[in-house]
Symmetry: C4
Subunit: 378 residues, 4 copies
């Protein structure tokens, strides 16, 4: 395996030096282009998207209706097959309960744990997928690695287009002494739909996940800036470095297979248009975005945010938040125009402009843009 800079933290104990997205920035090079000459299109397997967006599978921002709206805006909405929409026939009262609790302060973790204690109903999975399919958009749902074998039949029977197998930390080699673990490689080989799998944190895990036959690998372990995986588990993945490492795995796997290109999808505190541009500049093919979508007026939780890991029954990580006011429609959040300058609306219009101002025509070229470390973030 190739090696990155290492630091000797103490005698003979080494650590690799990693960089977060907000430590890295883009430097304009000598050419500029018209914004209208730039394409942000992205294609994975047979599915083409106008913007390189895969939503986080968070109930706070993705309902069947918002997944449809994301698809119509050019991205890929991912519904959580283990979320509120598949636990409750009518989740609206649950949303209301969470929003009421959040009116003045972030809702308590214990309340999240309670509403997610309700069992998942496989027939609701089918119904939700049907609703999205009927709208004509590309459909995707997320299952956890632990429940993949149990829930995948319902998901596939309902005709999903893409399956997302996602946990905080996923490996291609899960070891268990209790029965047999999910064998991702044989599971994926038997499927007719492409699979996106992750999160992975480094070159090796990314490469191993690529070898399972996945179409895309999610890189990063934390979904948002409310995550507490570092405080709770001591785990931290500086994302700029992880993306670059996964892009190296992509190149090596492309060579190893003589041409199979596995997409790298970055996930972790990608909450501004600037962060989107950085993630792609570091080598990602697409970005997984969640938290900023809560500012869309269509967001099902009315501006409140939580990630599903915050509802873990024994070891919740990540946080919940008080609501933010709506900043515009989902389309405006994604495509503009912006009426604020905080990088949280017109997320992909801004990307297009960054590409134009640095002279790149498409995303693949843009992965080679000049980067700088240092300087003060806004």
């Amino acid at each position: 395996m190739p090696s990155r800079d290492t630091v000797e933290i103490g005698l003979n104990r080494f650590a690799r030096r990693g960089y977060d997205l907000d430590e890295v920035s883009i430097v304009p090079s000598r050419r500029t282009r018209d914004v209208d000459d730039v394409s942000t299109a992205w294609q994975i397997d047979a599915f083409r998207f106008e913007i390189p967006l895969v939503t986080s599978p968070s109930d706070a921002v993705v309902s069947p209706a918002t997944a449809i709206a994301v698809g119509q805006a050019g991205g890929l909405g991912v519904l959580n097959a283990e979320g509120l929409w598949t636990r409750y026939d009518d989740p609206l009262p649950v949303y209301r309960q969470l929003r009421d609790a959040a009116a003045e302060a972030p809702p308590p973790i214990a309340l999240l744990q309670q509403v997610y204690a309700e069992p998942v109903k496989p027939d609701l999975i089918s119904a939700r997928i049907k609703e999205m399919r009927d709208a004509g958009v590309t459909t995707a749902v997320r299952v956890s690695p632990q429940h993949t074998e149990l829930l995948a039949p319902s998901v596939l029977a309902a005709g999903v287009d893409l399956l997302v197998i996602q946990g905080t930390i996923v490996s291609a080699e899960h070891v268990t002494t209790q029965g047999s673990a999910l064998n991702l490689k044989s599971f994926i080989a038997d499927l007719d739909v492409p699979v996106i799998v992750g999160g992975a944190a480094n070159y090796q895990t990314a490469l191993h996940l690529m070898r399972t036959g996945a179409a895309g690998v999610i890189v990063g372990v934390g979904a948002d800036s409310f995550s507490t995986g570092d405080a709770v588990m001591g785990v931290r993945v500086p994302l700029a470095s992880a993306i670059a490492d996964a892009a190296a795995a992509r190149r090596d796997y492309l060579d190893e297979t003589g041409g199979r290109y596995v997409h790298v999808i970055a996930n972790g505190r990608i909450e501004t248009s600037g962060a989107i541009a950085r993630a792609l500049a570091c080598g990602a093919d697409a970005v997984q975005v969640g938290e900023p979508l809560r500012a869309a007026k269509e967001a099902p939780a009315g501006g409140v945010w939580w990630d599903s890991v915050a509802a873990h029954p024994r070891l919740p990580r990540g946080g919940t938040s008080a609501p933010v006011p709506a900043a515009g429609s989902l389309e405006q959040v994604l495509l503009g125009p912006a009426e604020t300058s905080d990088g949280r609306t017109n997320l992909f219009g801004a990307l297009r402009r960054t590409m134009a101002k640095t002279g790149y025509r498409d995303l693949k070229e843009f992965q080679r843009v000049d980067l700088v470390i240092g300087g003060r973030p806004d």
Copy 2:
């Protein structure tokens, strides 16, 4: 091209290490001088200035009247040919509206977008230039690269002394599929007045802009500490490094042409006298200053601040601010005496003292002063 320190952020993905102005400081060397023996004079083309000041073309601080006052104090005021003074016959009610909105909080971006939606009138450009010329100061106006060909005739016909072609990110090679782009080189070759052009962010862009025949190149992409170019576009230019790189381009271009010296004008969060000294110490010939001038009692927006990019119709960047109280006359802000110790008045008197305390007689020598990285900023 010569190379600076690089960091491997991930496998085979490299970034250059950059330093911001506030990371760099000046170290007194063994000699000191009398303040009165020091000159801060600067000359570009046929124009000589007592202080190396080019104002930002921000409507918040530059009206025809303040441009004149800056000229009388020894610097160069730059009026925005695409700002309020050329959109409105009488911009005072617009200023009033913005100031009223700002009384308690920064005025909303949407209001800026609205007042800048009014079209530019070429005949107002002529009238404003005439007003400044009549006062006997060196005149300069700024046009954007996109509107240069449209507006330059009016600007030149009015007899401007210096033309500033400035956008956030400007290149010598703009590529378009829609008609033809501005060819800076042939455009400048045809002009009788010297041109200052920018912003550029690195050695290459600076060198290419020097080769267009410009008299000066602006280095830096952000005009003030309210900028959000990093959050919105993922673009960041650590200015100390960018200035030093552009100074290297200046040396190389001087050698390449056998003697053409193109001035480097630093732009970006130069908001204290300390930052002015640092920028010049890193290799700049002059500094573009905007935000601190709003504390002058002549400032047309009464202490409110915004940069023109904050008014962008689809992707505003940068911010607006509530007003600051006046700290004195424009002359006092520029030349002292200071009655506060925050580095925001007596901007160029402080520069003179720094030069004296480090033993330098003029700005060209001062570019060689000893620098240190590290230590705690005030």
Copy 3:
């Protein structure tokens, strides 16, 4: 002695570069495991513990009753033989006084100095040890190096299982011109019970303490995030580096003795489950934890925190705090389940999950987990 990275701070004056625990994080590697297949067991001398926990000997969290509860939860409680329980026949009124003083603000240092001015009574030491022994848990008390010779007889006569000789900074070679100093080596050689000694700050001190015959060495000089040893004494021990250095001393001593394994116990701002995981990942065998235990409803000071060094009569260091509300039982704080996501409950359940998600079965293996420097802490 092996050498770590050094920095030349000035001409010919060098400093070693050290890393704090919160600068280092764990990176998941390619394998994952079931949580139930993981063991957090730790054994020192003849004593086995289900969790690698040694409590700080702080009166704020350790009474005889809580030491028993810690033992029942699988860890080692350490009572301070020079604390309130051995100075007062009934310390409850003293606790009440401190808690009353802390209701609105941290209690004043002067009050701590006053309550700790009461002399230690050897017979109370015996009584407290007896109470803990009677509950059937492994017993341990802490004495200071200065009072070891005076108090050890009472401690040993009472049948303690483990003796902890702990001061902020302890060396194997104390030099005095006033009588004779404690000779740790001969003192320990004469004992029948195993000794844990510290704190040590670097490779050399750790190695020398290992050579005294101690079973365990405490690494680190500060007990909590309220410490002020850096402001008061200019002393700082970046803990990740100190742990790794002490682990190197452990390896070298193991080789030197042909097999004596001395345990490294990390001490210093280990206040979240994430910090526990990091400390063990850097090479510690166990962690000394204090401050987080004050959130247990059994904590004797009702949520107030202080470390004994804060009561020093002439040079107090460290702070006191206003009380925190109870977060659950001591067992819940240590073993979960958690109802918050701040890393301060389910301290060792989280460790187990980190080990599972990085694929390690036991603590000794986990000391080899991949580390990363950089990235943003939560």
Copy 4:
């Protein structure tokens, strides 16, 4: 000249890497000592002090009475010969005016400028020195380099023991086109009293000042954490590096002269006992301390703080502060006991303990203590 680490900030433009005192810390080594076996004594020329303290010449903390108290506590008090006590026959009303202005907020700079506009009276200098001499302590006054030739006769005639020639930035080679500048070398050669001179910022200036015949050189340009020299002048001197560089100059000058030892006195944000220990550990022989003394109940400004440079008529730097409550007598601030743990009382008792805990008997040995870079400051 020997060279330290350099950084290439941009192409061919280099800066040295400097470290501030709070980035450096002391690491206990393997030996410890009794506190009572440690000496903090310092001797310069014929004058011996029990603690290595030279006060800042700030009127906020040094009156003739407090200079006497400092001397009685074992240090050296320095009265400003160009301060309030030599401008006003009775400065008490001026102190009152400043304290009244400071009751709720820091007093305005303009008020300082006004009270310092009063001329210095040479006969008051004589009277103040006489008052201190009569108390039997070692006397020292500070003059600025600009006024040294004018004021020195009065100072010397009054029988001062040590003369301190101090400005923010002082060089051995002041260049002027207006008349002749002070020639420090010939001036000092003609004197009977030893001279302390500074501040110097690097190896070269320190070495040149040593060659003037001074007994001590002050290293550092900023007197306190309220300084704004960085914002105003762009000048910053990371003190740990500057001290180490000056200590190297001291060694080289010692060799060059075959035995003349010039003392290095550190000056700049030395405001806690920890900072005192760090400064000495980096190589200083003594420390110049000002701001913490305002917490002594004898402080003439009643807890308000300002440095004389804050009163500069055209370019004030540095700040003023609201008063702090008294923390005890001057003796308690210097020698303890402390009743708080913030490092701001028992300043030199803490030093003694740090020396004991790291095993050093005297200050000269302590300059070799192990240092570490990194870790979190308190």
